[in-house]
């Protein structure tokens, strides 16, 4: 096994190439690298210890919590903390977050797919300028514009509504989405467009029958990326909403701190609960999620 990768291109009589591509091995898998392996295990501990401490603490009675070391397992595990959180509007927060994420994804897709298509297909001054605009947008931090946005949201009468979160979140998810989509769309060959054009296909038909089916990979990455933006968003909800009605999960977690006071186990239970939905999505769609985000970096 160890010399197999090395000698393949040299030996002309080796097995036909067609047999192999599915199980192409990486270059680092040939020999074990003890140093790298040890480093990976150390990082594993860095990842797992806080997660373990969180779950274990969330199962601890509040009386036991003071002076307790978070690394010690609870002596009498309890689900009381989860009960407390679930009876304090957790479902409502989750529902709002799902709605907000769906809204952001919808807006981003409806706006970015045609936009990226035009940016890739047209070689005009305007499409180039538009593309550059989005490039520039990648680096705009939401913090820089939150004060003027607050003024705009108030003037639009959107303050304290889910839309006040959804609209700016979608706008700030657009630059990276356009980058990802234009990257994918550029991989569609010129011939395919020409073939369709010869058939007399309209631009709209090309969009729905060629671009969207061919760009599935990029589109799913954009769905994941923009859903995560909405899922993770804190600043916009903090500043553009106030009442319980449109409150989303991140802001709800933040408010639990004052609601539960020093009840740290309950706070940690809410953190665990907030992770459960996306962890389930991760278990189901790990390949799409991880593969899609890997593409964000590009080459």
């Amino acid at each position: 096994m160890s010399h197999d990768t090395l000698s393949r291109p040299v030996r002309t009589d080796s097995a036909p190439a067609a047999e192999r591509p599915a199980r192409r091995r990486g270059h680092w898998s040939r020999r074990a690298n003890p140093l790298a392996g040890a480093g990976a295990l150390i990082w594993l501990a860095v990842v797992i210890v806080p997660i373990y401490a969180m779950i274990s603490a969330s199962l601890t009675h509040q009386d036991e919590a003071l002076g307790h070391n978070a690394l010690k397992p609870p002596s009498h595990p309890t689900l009381d903390n989860y009960n407390t959180v679930l009876h304090n509007g957790f479902g409502h927060l989750l529902w709002n977050t799902v709605l907000a994420a769906a809204g952001v994804v919808l807006i981003v897709l409806v706006l970015c797919v045609p936009l990226s298509y035009v940016a890739v297909r047209t070689r005009g001054v305007w499409s180039g300028a538009a593309f550059r605009l989005f490039l520039l947008g990648v680096a705009i931090p939401a913090q820089a514009v939150v004060v003027p946005l607050y003024l705009m949201i108030a003037k639009l009468n959107l303050y304290d509504s889910l839309l006040a979160i959804v609209l700016p979140t979608a706008a700030f998810a657009m630059p990276v989405s356009v980058l990802i989509l234009t990257g994918t769309l550029r991989d569609i060959s010129e011939e395919m467009y020409e073939a369709m054009a010869l058939d007399g296909a309209s631009t709209t038909r090309m969009l729905f029958q060629l671009v969207i089916p061919m760009a599935k990979g990029g589109i799913s990455t954009v769905v994941i990326f923009s859903a995560l933006q909405a899922w993770n968003g804190f600043l916009f909800p903090l500043i553009f909403t106030q009442s319980d009605g449109p409150r989303v999960l991140t802001l709800g977690l933040f408010n639990y701190v004052s609601e539960f006071g020093v009840n740290i186990p309950a706070i940690l239970a809410s953190v665990v609960l907030s992770g459960v939905p996306i962890f389930i999505v991760y278990l189901v769609a790990r390949r799409a999620l991880v593969g899609g985000l890997m593409g964000v970096g590009g080459k």
Binding site: T5, R24, H68, L111
Partner: protein
């Protein structure tokens, strides 16, 4: 077809940038309409000791976070690019922190660093260096999984022939790493670094929840300074002057990115899997 998207983006992202500059020349307490104030906010800002301190903290936090995250995610990513089964399993676990929101992660570490409850029974967040390192660590804990993934994708695209040729020439593993892997990952590193630097400007949640800018004002990064001025002291003109600073920094960063990375060249971005 591109117009709705451009207009939407211009309205919710670009117009506010311009508006931030305008508001920095006004006096506004969040109610009613902004009143012209000339250069008052800028004069106040430039004579404010907190600005210099905040700039220093922001730059220091960005630099230390960048070094911390880049070293670890580069090594993990290159390691994970191999295809053995245990690597796939470990990579799956490594990714888990990224699934929690910044808010959730900040709360988790707020609890774990609590002197009465947590792992270390010491007042970590009460000391300047402790609070600073906690923010760096928490940011890394959250974002290293993502950047590992980016480096993993980049490492998988390095042509295998390069390693085969190097092996034939007798280059060992570490020589291969420094002579092939690192140079080949240059573009990946640029992308990752830009995302990291922009990302560290948004450590707002972490700072708000972990330290509230403290102890004192020792971890009050620029976005936090802006938040305090605006949404705690209701001095939105002053907050806008701080925000304008952020706009300038961000624009400089993105121009640098377009120059350094392949983005501007309209290159095709292949998927990593």
């Amino acid at each position: 077809m591109a117009l709705p998207g451009v207009l939407f983006f211009a309205f919710f992202a670009l117009a506010p940038m311009v508006l931030a500059f305008y508001l920095s020349f006004t006096r506004w307490n969040g109610l009613g309409d902004p009143q012209p104030a000339g250069l008052a906010n800028w004069r106040k800002l430039l004579s404010d000791d907190r600005l210099g301190q905040s700039l220093t903290v922001t730059v220091a936090l960005t630099a230390v976070s960048w070094a911390f995250q880049t070293v670890i995610s580069l090594l993990l990513g290159v390691w994970a690019a191999g295809r053995q089964r245990n690597r796939a399993v470990l990579s799956a676990i490594f990714f888990v922190p990224f699934l929690l929101s910044s808010t959730a992660i900040s709360l988790l570490f707020y609890a774990l660093l609590d002197p009465n409850f947590g792992i270390i029974h010491r007042d970590t967040l009460g000391t300047t260096s402790g609070a600073f390192l906690a923010i760096v660590f928490v940011g890394g804990w959250q974002f290293i999984p993502f950047h590992t993934l980016i480096y993993q994708g980049g490492a998988r695209q390095i042509p295998e022939v390069l390693y085969q040729a190097a092996a034939i020439d007798g280059a060992g593993r570490y020589r291969q790493f420094f002579s092939i892997t690192l140079p080949q990952l240059r573009n990946t590193a640029t992308t990752s670094s830009v995302l990291m630097i922009v990302g560290s400007l948004t450590y707002f949640e972490t700072v708000l929840i972990l330290t509230q800018g403290g102890p004192g004002t020792d971890t009050a990064i620029l976005p936090y300074l802006m938040y305090e001025a605006g949404f705690k002291s209701y001095d939105f003109g002053y907050a806008s002057a701080v925000a304008s600073f952020l706009v300038l920094a961000a624009t400089a960063l993105s121009l640098l990115m377009v120059k350094l990375s392949g983005f501007g060249a309209m290159r095709s971005t292949r998927e990593g899997m």
